[in-house]
Symmetry: D3
Subunit: 225 residues, 6 copies
């Protein structure tokens, strides 16, 4: 609001230190780039841990993430925090007058448009607990099927059988928990999205894409007539 | 999914017969058009009533709306039903394999990203009842502040004092019901959005924009790598 | 209210075109007829489909159903819409000043008096989704065990093994979902009611009976001192 | 079930000792009597207090009420407990194999068919607390507008201005709490029902009538083919 | 408040007539006794049944329990009703100006501090229904995993295999229902608490201890500066 | 669990840097000290801000708070985080195997034992939003009346009229929002507790006391037979 940047810029911050994850996010949001649209930049939080796997990791990245937001604020029209735990989301909203989107919050809200009950393919058992808590916080329990963990770490996403594993968890969310829309519960799973959707025949949401499209809307509409 | 159209096309259908409303929708979604993005066409349902003010109107437009969806389906990648009662939304989802977005459902889900409690500026007292029922159906009661009516018909939006009236209702939603994000509860209110946001200092959502950005994402991501 | 008909008349409309279903409804409500009580007439909506199996069917019958309600209104004191999707219920309530009861809404509310958690024996998998949405709309999720489908069409109710099939689904609602009261999720299942109740030892609700008794009360009490 | 009584008998028990209240209940349910229908007898619990105004009263009547149910069981097909606190309802359901209906539970469930949000005209401030607790227990909070007290004792219903008082409380339930259907929160208010409905233009439910019609259905359907 | 007793006294009432249960409660709360702390006395309600297994038992003990509370009131600063059905809790709160704690209510609220979802090891299938109803009444459904019954009577707790049985039910609450904190659903199970906690690696709550610590706080803080 | 400390020690950490607040907490929990009971030590987080007034403050104290917990862990049996935003609560539970109690979580759960609806006297308007979010996260919305702000900073609690101000806010929570139990929404308000309770005639909870009593129970019961 009031910042003078011709086309606008969206800054996506990967709060873990893995450049590979940042690159995967960058590819995932590429279809949301247009020549007249906002620039979309993906940054890595170098101070973050390799993967955000515990509540300590979640809370621990807020300080350096806040610093990075402050640093980028003057040249940014909308931020995306690209970790499915939405670390520091409400702090960020105090720091900047630009819109800030959390990828989990955005994915959950997009899911409401695509099915009756959303299921989340989570990385770890511990993430499941955090997701249950967060779904309650968002007031969305009535639309929540379940979260089920892959029980691999973030690094497990690199294995050859990762795709099969995601499909199996997705299938169980559908069969045993009544999910009819799936959410990838991690910033680095986007490359599996279309295959899961095709094989399981339900919509599948990549949370980085869900947040980025909200950011695009926010930038475009901020200055619209 | 599988349809071969280069850039994709979004068909927005205004289910009332008012060309003025269709024109206002067309202007509202203009910031979401890009040269490489999907074509966005706004159609008027000629068989609809001048304004959708009763449940009979809502139910009554489903048949011609369904016909229009069938007619446009071969050349459409995503539909938006541009009436805040989301008429025929679940029928439409049976008719076409393309995504279909309702502007109320999309506005409510966008609101979750922008505040704690959403309030709706409704046209009529009767719309308030329908909105309460719909918010319950969507499972979003915990995030719902209230709907308050302008108590003018759709035509009342044309009066000179319409802007003042919307501001007053918005202010009451904030002051008496705890809303911190407002939704314009009608397809034809978009031109008031920025003024209300500026004057009341809360995010204000035009539901046609909220649904169209979901449609844009849907089209772009359907064929993304 | 104010209509001058000596004993009163209840008009039950079967919105599908099957005369066999209408006949079965007529038999189901027969125990609720008394010589001094309201006349109870069961009509078939000739314009309806043979069975209401999709949302398109649900929405599609509203127009002819509304016409029939208008036609019967002058001689009717209370209407019952006898399809478990409650098609056109809120439109009907706008059309007539008489009370209108939906058989699903009535069955759900009767169930609250008979057990802790109600389970629904549904016809189709697609009906399950509609029922979940409707239970949320009614605000009754905390009392809802589940809906489970027979996965036969409406015509499957005619097969020799239909009774066994309903029993099996009812048993699963009790054993796996904690239901302690069952609802027959279709207007044409009434003849199985007593057998299921006897074999499974739980109350079983025929929704046409549930709505008709509300209609009887409505007619009798409208003119009571 | 299995008891051999030709037409069936409903026993309504007023758990307070006021014969005047019993007489008023008897008149209220008279429109639900038919020559071929079940006999409807209204009994006074002589051991009860003159009015049930505290939780101690509620709990205190369970023992004599249970004794009376045991005594009447052999000749009764359905019981109604005619106090808006539904005292001993779940005990009674253990004591007899006949159906037992509580007037509050029945009134709340009937209200779901007649409006979006029910409001209760309560006798005392202390009843309001009990009603809030009970509505939560029934899982009906999403459909509950509020309870507002007359702040007179049961005896206050006899005063000349009682009708005016009820109208004022009903109006406030509508205006300030969004109620569109009202429930008389006491067994002895039935004579005000039609006047309030006419003056405030919303459905008004007498809870004894609501429970009795359920009992009628229960008796008629228990032996239906 | 205003009673002049130097150190204060907590009266725990076991509403069943089993002295063995009272003795077990007395041992369970022993760690909450301090020389400067309130005296904690455990009384047996001689008029109670040997075990409280039905709703009739629950309602039946309220009268003698109320009498005992009245008798002890002058020398008591806080009461604990030591039956997991919390019989007469709200009556007791009318009878005395001292605080009254129900062991189920206290256990449920303590559980909120120790995990995401609480599971209850119940005695009987019938207790499960009562617990579901009570959890809804308390508004805690979102934090409730399930109750599962031992399906032994209260006396079954005395058998040699009782410990194994509790462990098996606890394990199922964790594995199939997602419980991460367990509640012993009976006043007489305390001696199994530490073993279950150690073997299943989750917090386990004895409800008498949960209520007594609230009573201790109440007594100490009533007169604190 | 397994730590060998004779009487046990509770470490209460005030995450703001105000020694005056720590001293006030120390006085508030004094009635919960006994000679045979656990030692209760109150520490100030020197790295904290003077008052925790924003989400940035909340998130910002987690790192030094975690360090302090790690440092004290070997000599602590239970921790209390003494800020009403419960900063770092779930991180702390990962760091230590001792129990950790948040004062808001504990206060909310204690309130369930003392009334139907709890109201919170908050410091700032911004705290209200955080409290609404947290109550939803805890799944306690059905028992939540409202939070109302004093609209003074933490320092405003020192003014001469602070007591009057708290009383006025408490009265409004009771009169306009139906609260029947009040919670002091800040660690430094304990000295007003008894006056508010006496003047407004409802239970009033100091959250530090609520958490400390849970900690006392935890320590005493960890090693109980």
């Amino acid at each position: 609001m009031g910042k003078s940047k011709p086309t606008g810029r969206i800054t996506i911050i990967n709060p873990n230190s893995s450049e590979a994850v940042t690159k995967s996010i960058d590819e995932a949001v590429d279809p949301l780039r247009w020549s007249e649209g906002p620039v979309i930049d993906c940054l890595t939080l170098k101070e973050g841990p390799p993967g955000i796997e515990t509540q300590c990791h979640v809370d621990g990245v807020v300080a350096p993430l806040s610093d990075l937001i402050r640093k980028e604020d003057a040249t940014t029209d909308a931020f995306v925090i690209a970790c499915f735990s939405d670390p520091g989301l409400h702090s960020a909203r105090e720091i900047t007058s630009s819109s800030v989107f959390g990828i989990a919050e955005s994915a959950y809200s997009m899911a409401l448009n695509l099915g009756e009950k959303f299921g989340v393919i989570a990385i770890l058992r511990a993430s499941v607990i955090r997701q249950q808590r967060y779904v309650r916080q968002l007031g969305l329990s009535e639309r929540y099927a379940a979260s089920l963990p892959l029980d691999t770490g973030v690094s497990g996403l690199e294995s050859d059988t990762a795709g099969e594993h995601l499909l199996a968890v997705g299938q169980e969310l559908i069969d045993s928990h009544g999910a009819d829309v799936l959410i990838l519960g991690c910033a680095g799973m986007a490359r599996f999205r279309r295959r899961i959707a095709a094989d399981l025949n339900v919509p599948v949401i990549d949370p980085c894409q869900a947040a980025t499209i909200q950011a695009v809307a926010s930038v475009r509409l901020a200055t619209a007539a």
